[in-house]
Symmetry: C2
Subunit: 583 residues, 2 copies
Amino acid sequence: MPPPITATLGGAVQSNARLGGCCRAPARTSVPAARTGPRGSGRMAAAPTEQMAGLAVANGAPVPGGKPKKEKKPKAEQADKPKQQPKSEKKKETKLGLTAKKDGDFGEWYSQVVVESEMISYYDVSGCYILRPYSFAIWDEIKNWFDAQIKEMGVQNAYFPLFITEDVLMTEKDHVEGFAPEVAWVTRSGNSELDRPIAIRPTSETVMYPYYAQWIRSHRDLPLRLNQWTNVVRWEFKHPTPFIRSREFLWQEGHTCFATQKEAETEVYDILDLYRRVYEELLAVPVCKGTKSSKEKFAGALFTTTVEAFVPQNGRGIQAATSHCLGQNFSKMFGIEFETEARERAHAWQNSWGLTTRSIGVMVMTHGDDKGLVLPPRVAQVQAVLIPIPNSKLGEAAVAALAARAADIEKALKAAGVRLTVDRRDNYTPGWKYNYWELRGVPLRIELGPKDMDAGVAMLAQRDTGAKQSLPWDQLAAAVPKLLEQIQAEMYGRARSEFDACIERVSTWDEFMAALDRKHMALGPWCDEEAAEEDVKKRSACKDAMGAKSLCIPLEQPELAPGTLCFVTGKPAKNFCLFGRSY
Amino acid sequence: MPPPITATLGGAVQSNARLGGCCRAPARTSVPAARTGPRGSGRMAAAPTEQMAGLAVANGAPVPGGKPKKEKKPKAEQADKPKQQPKSEKKKETKLGLTAKKDGDFGEWYSQVVVESEMISYYDVSGCYILRPYSFAIWDEIKNWFDAQIKEMGVQNAYFPLFITEDVLMTEKDHVEGFAPEVAWVTRSGNSELDRPIAIRPTSETVMYPYYAQWIRSHRDLPLRLNQWTNVVRWEFKHPTPFIRSREFLWQEGHTCFATQKEAETEVYDILDLYRRVYEELLAVPVCKGTKSSKEKFAGALFTTTVEAFVPQNGRGIQAATSHCLGQNFSKMFGIEFETEARERAHAWQNSWGLTTRSIGVMVMTHGDDKGLVLPPRVAQVQAVLIPIPNSKLGEAAVAALAARAADIEKALKAAGVRLTVDRRDNYTPGWKYNYWELRGVPLRIELGPKDMDAGVAMLAQRDTGAKQSLPWDQLAAAVPKLLEQIQAEMYGRARSEFDACIERVSTWDEFMAALDRKHMALGPWCDEEAAEEDVKKRSACKDAMGAKSLCIPLEQPELAPGTLCFVTGKPAKNFCLFGRSY
């Protein structure tokens, strides 16, 4: 990451109100909402005019009351969960911005931010959501980066069918038990009943492995490393949440076979580190790498590694991506055998690993604030918005000069690789536009007004901190890419500090419960027994909060002093495990 | 397209045996199978040794008999069509290559070529296929090119759910009638019956348009241009064929809204031309652009434009991609209204357009021959394969020099942007490798043997024509990219000539039937009435062949002389229409 460029640019960067060690401390509302300085704050904070009321560019949320032909609206499936439409969709479209606070009703805040920013539309099949272009572009960034990385490693893309026959799905017993309750079944085509119901893939182990068994004969056919980018369906009945838990979601799933356990295990951790980098380097979201407990591992796996993220506002951990070593479990069930160099028969060692659109939700939760999204520059579809501010008192020539300068800046920044939009709409005030782009989390706003024209500068305002600086035009092309990288690094740095501050070392049950009460995670020595974990879940549940569970056994372990006892059972501890309430 | 480089390269390019005006003439087997020249043809044609028998690198087709644990093989769904496993899968794995002839049993040839080349595996749900990396890479090439083109036009990607409620699917009457018999229904999750069955999208008009109605308010919200790359399901009961007709397939579907009919129509034809370019410029497959008859248009569309391809071997046209103008039909049904600049209410003008993985099948049918695939260089995952040929009599130093030279050539060609593979496997003979890469259709084989080492050259053999030339090492990096482009252009040129020669101008019913008997298409003047088309279908059917139908009304029309009569009804003709038997 490049060093801060404040000094070289000479701009006044505001101190970062949110940089703090404790996860409870930073008030997201402390970022100043209105600009101070040469431009009147009145204009910036101006409410949209009446003229804007009919124009929905700014607010793509479904507003059922606002349209004729109401009877054509899709009727909500009579679903398990009534709270499908967030309250935000009811408010008047003239108003821009969120009514819920992130530190208040977090769930409602999240619903509002993903809908109002036009990332998501709620859909009339419960638990399914529309990924609008503004979020899909982020998924594309993640895909492009990750896909290039795994291709570099020798993984190839393929596409396996959506459907699985019942027989094949049932091949691996633990696996099917893990998924059976969530499987959606096709039983009819047109008006004909199918002879046998066909499952929609919840994951593709059982889709792929019968064919792996056919394709692999010799050690020369190994490794076989395939990946696919697909949709999968898990008909869950837990409360659905956009990105975080949905009945259909998008993901990549890698499925690989190796001749030796060592090769397989190396890949498991290589992939896990790519997942860490997706979160930390693209989404600026800190995670903890670890291994799942035997209770929490993937159904049918030898062991599961995971990157775990955390949401301080509600004190809940969230599984961010998993990389499984399947061992020889599936290869024995599906007969994936090969002839070794010594001409002996052996079963392949297998991995599977997946990263989903959940990642976008975790990013929104980590960085968003009461004004809306805050996007890390590396994945933002629009990295900077240029807002020309023609004053109504300007003469024709001055207006033309301002437009020409805006075009020059646009050209220079695009040539410098910045994903820039110029907001030239003439039916909105600058203040309204500021709110509009802040809601969408665009990392950098560049203002160009009459006084900037006189001074030969543009004003840069950061979305993350609200910091402002003015810069001469000829420095923009060099400075803006650096500033975007600086914003990326600082967003990660703040989130990392917050994450770390939310982990408490505990050695007794009381300390553990106190940490949970503070909405923190707890890292404690434990005996690594499934019964202990069941115990934690039961004993930590109370009327206001779900029970805690193990998030992961971190790869980076504190030193375990001899004689250390499990904080749950009092038996000898085997390692440190991270526990917390969780999504 | 660059000019032929034969002259500058000094190599002896063989005359093209397949370049011919008549669609029946070219014998695909006329390409010499064995190399003549300094290397012994015996080595090249050598059968695989016993040692190879156990190694499945070369033959990914399922060979049910060849494995233990037979009971773990997926059982074929007791499906509608018994002929799911091509006969090729039964033959011994020691043998490389196809047993069927393209001009013989075309269907069997096609099954063999897509399986043996490792493009496809048959799957145990009837009508579903596995796209293996070797075909998926081609889909990725198509995706990358087309996606960049439409983004340039202002289209954005999004993702809408897989599921549709029954109510919404039923909104547009013609549309639902078109798809209802093919819709797959989910009725159960886990062990619970759903309250109401949910459809799997056969296409997404009805998924998307209720939301378009919510998002669009003003002329300022238009155009709205979204696209998605997804899977769709059409549970057809016609004979399934890999790529060409499958129950699940991959495609892009664009769905756009405009304020005016003119803008919508412009886009329809712009997209149609992109489809033409995918076929002609990427896949080297000639197509005819046209409009579908009212009988053949998309269910619910105002009009449908199409690119039509043709398979000379069986005389069947094939719809290659379609771009529909939906008019205001769906916008009226779904209430997609906006306020015009004049503050009036108006319904949006809509288009939808789609291109599927069928395109890969059409490419295979067009270019493949009795030795296997023939891939156009622009979409081939491997554009050239370099085969070092160490002679067993060579000393250690000579072997090392040959390996070093191969590495140099690899480096130079990769730096020149050529997608090159070096086949260094030591357990296959060169002849076996030639067959292996020919089966996979790699456009260019580069051989480097002891005599080439002495002469400072490499031998280049084209897959499409069998033409060979030797080139000095230092010319390779410049020559190979040009040669690949030349191959691309010549493949298209030959296919174009063949396509054009398969269109017969007819003016009477007898001429029409004679053209069909010659496995040709017929371009005739007609009255453009649905009843006439029904008549054609009935009267042209016979015990050996299905009835013909209209393929398209070509955009490029011959001059229609006054008084010309319809070749079917004898009524005044309105235009020329292309008819043929069809997929």
